[in-house]
C-alpha cells in the first residue's frame, strides 16, 4: 500500500507540481512518458513519488512521445488507470496515437502543458498544441492557474472513466505562465482526493483472460462511420457528466467550475473570449475598466474546449454587443479557432454581436493588462458603432507595421 503525504492546507505549488500531486492522489497505475519542456516535472515527480513509495504504480521509460502514448494505450487497454504529460513537439508526435486512444475509448489523462510549435523552436507558452488536438476525439479541459491544474486533473479521471463516457481527457495549462509559476494551492487531503476520484473500474480489459478481446480492429466503409458516430455521441454526451462531476467536486473542495466560465457578463456590453491564463488577466482588465472608464466589460472562457460548449457559449454571450475572440495560436491561414467557433454558435441564435479576432502571445510573448484594456476599448467602439470599426483579424503586441486581415461587410 502506498504511503500518504500530509499536505498543508495551503501549499505554494507551480502548475506542474500541482498536477503531479493529483496524479499521485489518483494512484495512477502506469505513466509512460518521454519528458519535454515545460511538462517535464509532472512525469518526473510521478517517477519520484513511485520511487519513494507514495504511489503503487509504474513509470515506463520509452523512446519517443509516440511510444509514450502507445504505452499508455496498451496499459489502459490492459485495464490500468493511466496518465502522462507532454507539450508542443512531443504532443505533435503523439497525435497519431491520440486518435487511437479516443477511438478505443480508453480513459487516459494527458496533461498538455501548452507550448508553441516549431519552427522557429520555442519552449514557451502558446496554445498551438492545444489547438492541434481539438479534433482528436479527446475531452479537453483547460486550467487557468496552478490550483485549477490540480483540480482539473482530479475531475478528468472522474469524467473520462465515467461508464457512459470512457474517453481520454486532456488537461491543459499554460506553459511556464502556469506550469512554472508558484501560487497558493489548496489541495485535498490524500483520503479526500482518492475518495473523490475513486477506484478504477476497467472495461473490456485485455488482462481479463476469461474474456479475450481484440483492440484496434480494422473497419472499412461498412463499419467505420458507425463507430466514429458512436464515439462522437459519447463525446457530446460528456457535457452533463462533466457538469455533475464539477458539482460533486464543489462539494468536496468548495470550488465551483462550469463548462463555460463567465465573469461580469450579466450586464456586459463587450466581452472577451479566451483560454488559459489570459482569462484571468482579462478579468483584471475588465474589473479595472469598469471602475476606471465605465466600460461594461466581461470575460467568457470555455473551461471545456471539447466537447465544445456550443450551448453554454450561446447562453453566456446572448446579450452582449461586441465580442473579441482572442486566439493564442498562429491561425494558419484562417480566422482564429475561438473566433470561428464562437461566431458559429452565435449565428445559430438571433443575437448578432459584432465579432472580431485578436491573435496574441505567440511563443510566450507577454500579454499585458494594458494590451487587454486596449482590446476592450476597441470592442466598446464596435459596440457603440454597431459594426466592427477595425479589421476583422488583428495581431496585437507585434513589432513592425500593423498586421491585420479582412474588413467588415456588415453595417
Amino acid at each position: 500500500m502506498a504511503e500518504k503525504i500530509e499536505l498543508q492546507k495551503v501549499e505554494v505549488w507551480d502548475g506542474n507540481y500541482a498536477a503531479s500531486h493529483a496524479l499521485r492522489q489518483a494512484q495512477v497505475d502506469v505513466v509512460a512518458a518521454y519528458p519535454i519542456t515545460p511538462s517535464t516535472p509532472i512525469v518526473e515527480n510521478y517517477g519520484q513519488f513511485v520511487a519513494d513509495g507514495y504511489i503503487d504504480g509504474e513509470f515506463v521509460m520509452v523512446e519517443s512521445e509516440h511510444a509514450a502514448m502507445s504505452g499508455c494505450v496498451g496499459a489502459a487497454a490492459s485495464g490500468g488507470r493511466v496518465a502522462t504529460a507532454t507539450s508542443s513537439q512531443g504532443f505533435a508526435l503523439m497525435v497519431e496515437v491520440l486518435y487511437q486512444a479516443s477511438g478505443m475509448r480508453l480513459p487516459i489523462v494527458l496533461n498538455v502543458v501548452n507550448r508553441a510549435l516549431a519552427s522557429p523552436l520555442n519552449v514557451r507558452g502558446d496554445h498551438s498544441d492545444m489547438y492541434l488536438g481539438r479534433d482528436s476525439g479527446w475531452i479537453q479541459m483547460d486550467a487557468f492557474n496552478a490550483q485549477e491544474a490540480y483540480d482539473m486533473n482530479l475531475c478528468a479521471f472522474r469524467v473520462g472513466e465515467h461508464m457512459d463516457i470512457r474517453l481520454p481527457v486532456m488537461v491543459h495549462q499554460d506553459g511556464f505562465i502556469t506550469s512554472h509559476t508558484a501560487q497558493n494551492v489548496n489541495p485535498l487531503s490524500d483520503e479526500e482526493a482518492y475518495k473523490f476520484v475513486g477506484v478504477y473500474n476497467p472495461v473490456e480489459e485485455m488482462l481479463d483472460f476469461s474474456r479475450p478481446v481484440t483492440y484496434g480492429a480494422q473497419t472499412e466503409e461498412d463499419w467505420h462511420y458507425e463507430h466514429k458516430a458512436r464515439q462522437h455521441k459519447a463525446l457530446m454526451d460528456a457535457r452533463p457528466v462533466i457538469e455533475s462531476v464539477f458539482a460533486e467536486f464543489q462539494k468536496v473542495s468548495g470550488r465551483q467550475y462550469k463548462r463555460v466560465e463567465t465573469y461580469m457578463t450579466e450586464d456586459a456590453e463587450v466581452i472577451i473570449v479566451a483560454l488559459g491564463t489570459t482569462v484571468e488577466s482579462a478579468r483584471v482588465a475588465a474589473k479595472q475598466l469598469r471602475e476606471e472608464e465605465g466600460i461594461k466589460a466581461g470575460v467568457v472562457a470555455p473551461r471545456v474546449l471539447r466537447p465544445f460548449p456550443f450551448d453554454a457559449i450561446r447562453d453566456a454571450l446572448q446579450n452582449c454587443k461586441a465580442i473579441g475572440a482572442m486566439d493564442r495560436s498562429s491561425p494558419g491561414g484562417a480566422l482564429g479557432m475561438l473566433f470561428n467557433e464562437v461566431s458559429a454558435a452565435m449565428y445559430t441564435t438571433s443575437a448578432r454581436p459584432v465579432m472580431s479576432n485578436y491573435i496574441y502571445g505567440l511563443g510566450g510573448r507577454d500579454l499585458s493588462i494594458n494590451a487587454i484594456k486596449d482590446i476592450y476599448r476597441e470592442l466598446q467602439e464596435n459596440a457603440t458603432a454597431g459594426e466592427i470599426t477595425t479589421p476583422v483579424q488583428q495581431f496585437i503586441s507585434l513589432r513592425g507595421p500593423k498586421l491585420s486581415f479582412f474588413e467588415t461587410r456588415r453595417s
Binding site: 463499419w223 463507430h227 458512436r230 459519447a234
Partner: protein, 155 residues
C-alpha cells in the same frame, strides 16, 4: 481424431466474411472492441477449436471459401508430417493434431499456395488444382518422383 470431427463445429464457416449483420451506430461495440468467445474463456487454450464457442465477431464463424479459385489438395501417402505447411499457412487452415497432418480447412483457405511452396517432399504432398477439380481424380493423377537434374546428367 478425424478431419470430419474437427470440422464438425456447427458454428464454423457459417457466413460469408463481410455478410455479418450490419447494426446501427447505437449498437456497435464501444471502442471497436471485439470479443472472441461467447463464454468464460479462462481455459480456452486447453480446449480444441471444435469445442470452443466462438463469437459471431470471430472469423472462425465466417468463411472465405467463395474467394478461392484454386485450392490445395493434400496427399497423405507422400506427407512426412514436417509441419512446414502448418507453420507457414497465413490463415491457420492446415489442420494438424499431435504433429500429424490431417487436411485442409476449406472454410478459411484462400488458395494462396504457400503450403505448396514450402512443402519439402518430392513429389510435393500438396498441389494446387482448380477449385472445381475432383479430389479423387487429382490424387489418382498425382505426379511421380522427379529425378534431380544432376542424376540425369551422370546417367
Amino acid at each position: 481424431m478425424s478431419l470430419e470431427n474437427i470440422l464438425s463445429n456447427a458454428q464454423r464457416g457459417q457466413r460469408e466474411l463481410g455478410a455479418e449483420k450490419k447494426v446501427g451506430w447505437d449498437e456497435v461495440t464501444q471502442g471497436v472492441v471485439i470479443n472472441a468467445f461467447e463464454y468464460d474463456a479462462t481455459n480456452v487454450s486447453r480446449e480444441l477449436s471444435e469445442d470452443r464457442k466462438y463469437s459471431d465477431f470471430s472469423s472462425y464463424t465466417a468463411t472465405v471459401a467463395s474467394w478461392r479459385i484454386i485450392k490445395p489438395i493434400y496427399n497423405r501417402d507422400i506427407c512426412i508430417d514436417c509441419q512446414n505447411c502448418w507453420v507457414w499457412c497465413p490463415d491457420t487452415s492446415i489442420i494438424s493434431r499431435d504433429k500429424q497432418m490431417l487436411g485442409i480447412d476449406y472454410d478459411h483457405c484462400k488458395g494462396c499456395g504457400v503450403c505448396v511452396e514450402v512443402c519439402p517432399t518430392n513429389p510435393k504432398s500438396l498441389l494446387m488444382f482448380a477449385e472445381t477439380a475432383d479430389g479423387e481424380e487429382c490424387l489418382a493423377g498425382w505426379p511421380v518422383k522427379e529425378k534431380k537434374a544432376k542424376e540425369t546428367e551422370t546417367e
